[in-house]
Symmetry: C2
Subunit: 374 residues, 2 copies
């Protein structure tokens, strides 16, 4: 089976590009002597995870317990749940651990630590402390005295203090290689400082974990770091291209769509990929080059110059030339199939239940299911 003629809209995965992206980060990190713990929140696919993990058992990062459960069912046992733990979820955490999953949790407060300690009556839970390296979300500042207080509460309460973790989410706003390098160093320095604080207090800190796709590709050194997490690098997307982490032809994910109409006077081509397919993510809106709802390519994945999805309704995408473009509008009759490169692979992927895979060996297309929910 070929891609042409497949029902639309559909999510297309270019396996050769994905493999290249996976190899690129693996090779880049090899000299640093750190563990790569890929984040599966982007792919949510066992088939992708099999290519992503060095062996079948991990290590892996997840954003939901649903992901953890799906991975564990597929044989992955070394899993970090990298969203601050809500007390009501500890029962599910313990259920997975009781089956043999080495699932670790994340927290940044005395309240959460108290809940984890209480749950440790049913078996010790490994914990990472979340550190805030750039002020963008959760975590304790590396100087915060609560780091030691929480660490001590956990150890004395029977939990396993596994280490410290940070995520340089602010790096998505970087504008240059120099800024990306600075974010990476800020991320590294913050979490290493927190680790030293724990160790100086006589507390264990075997794991020092950093992670974001931009910083993972731009860190100059990772002294004191033991593991790196990254997710979107597996597919990449227009946001990553916009900040210079990848090129357009590294983007492994696209949405297959069909032309359903035109408004010739306005230079519009209407297609059946609306926001239900592309997602509402407008991550390039604040970048130097606003890509609308995505870059329009032909069915072979070659971008048309300046052609983007300018706006989107639920089941309609409105394709137009970028404002100010002098390019000609290509002739795209009703029924033409196109592919749209997405702003944000995590958000666009989540709109679909499976991938149409263009296999790296050039063979017939395959279908890989995705999982979803919490």
């Amino acid at each position: 089976m070929m891609l042409a003629g497949q029902p639309t809209p559909a999510l297309v995965l270019d396996e050769a590009r994905m493999r290249r992206n996976i190899a690129r980060l693996r090779d880049r990190l090899a000299p640093f002597g750190v563990t790569l713990r890929p984040h599966v929140k982007t792919a949510k696919s066992i088939e992708v995870v099999r290519q992503l993990l060095t062996d079948g058992h991990g290590p892996a990062t997840v954003s939901t317990l649903k992901e953890a459960e799906a991975l564990f069912a597929a044989g992955v046992t070394d899993i970090l749940y990298a969203v601050g733990i809500a007390p009501h979820r500890l029962e599910r955490v313990q259920a997975l651990r009781a089956q043999g999953c080495d699932l670790a949790v994340l927290l940044d407060s005395i309240e959460q630590a108290g809940a984890v300690v209480a749950a440790c009556a049913h078996g010790a839970i490994p914990v990472l402390l979340e550190i805030d390296s750039d002020g963008h979300r959760a975590g304790l500042k590396p100087q915060d005295e609560r780091i030691v207080a929480i660490g001590r509460l956990l150890v004395e309460g029977g939990a396993i203090l596994r280490g410290v973790l940070t995520h340089a989410g602010g790096s998505y706003g970087a504008r240059s290689p120099a800024e990306l390098e600075a974010y990476a160093e800020q991320e590294r320095a913050a979490v290493v400082e927190a680790a030293e604080r724990l160790r100086a207090a006589g507390l264990p800190c075997p794991v020092v974990s950093v992670g974001s796709s931009p910083t993972a590709h731009f860190a100059r050194h990772l002294d004191g770091v033991t593991e790196v997490r990254a997710g979107v690098y597996v597919f990449f997307d227009l946001v990553m291209a916009g900040i210079g982490v990848c090129a357009l032809d590294d983007i492994a994910l696209s949405v297959l769509t069909t032309v359903i109409g035109h408004q010739a006077e306005k230079g519009w081509v209407l297609c059946d990929a609306g926001w239900m397919a592309l997602s509402r993510d407008r991550g390039t809106q604040g970048q130097a080059l606003d890509q609308g709802y995505g870059v329009v390519c032909d069915i072979d994945g070659k971008p048309y110059p300046d052609l983007i999805v300018d706006s989107a309704n639920q089941e309609h995408g409105i394709i137009a030339l970028r404002p100010g473009s002098t390019q000609p509008l290509p002739d795209l009759p009703v029924g033409t199939q196109l592919r749209i490169l997405p702003n944000h692979a995590c958000a666009t992927g989540a709109q679909f239940d499976d991938y149409i895979v263009l296999p790296a060996d050039g063979g017939p297309i395959a279908i890989w299911p995705r999982f979803r929910g919490w």
Copy 2:
């Protein structure tokens, strides 16, 4: 079972509010002598459809053939697929029609009409012509000579010319009741003009269809119109509240979430409803009152003054007071359950596989499945 303690994030449907919204539009339209053809793209739920349709068989509007197939399997037979038909979908249309579904399609071009005529070799397909009443998307201007040309091509080719249709999507940008009334009149006048053009050419036009939730609630009269379509009114949302079509306490949909942390210095409360739960829809961004990613309520659905989801990551929502607010930040310890009113019911609903329903009779919660995909 009660709502408190349910796993989060989850989609909550307040059935009493939904019933009130359904009754409101039904009652409002009754004096106009038009048929209400609800759009199920918002709810995507058989249980909601059963309450929405006057009898079990229709009429209904859908945005995907998947919706049409799900409705037909549940006994709905009078269905309009209100997105411009792509030729490759005609086989699925004919498969539904062959089973007894009175499924009509929409088009606005000679190319599409040619494809429909070709497919009519396997049975006549009912067609509506899409009219552009406000320049926001697809359709032919009411003055366009192609309306008659396409109508004639269809009739002579053995299709059933059922009528004309428009959607005043531009009304979502209205700012006042007067503007909403003007959009409604513009929508009505455009499609009636197109119908008269067909009839003057000796062509049939039994159906004259208008529709959008804002215009359906603000039309002063509907002379010449035979049916009204609307979808989001079933649940309403912050965008509809922002343009004055509903009040906050009409919004029947919310996302149940749990507090997972704080950044006290910044006045942030972190919760487990990120954009994966809320969607990336920022439909209130351009309105007078920007609601961020949603309005924060307590578990009983009562809004906290000025408290919104200020920003969102994949699995994190960052709750904060609206900029400039003088309200106190409520005390929301880790583990507190909250409900978030969404910007856009269609987009937020699509992130979930089911509803937790608070039944109108005050009884225990129920679970209603949603369908998705194409």
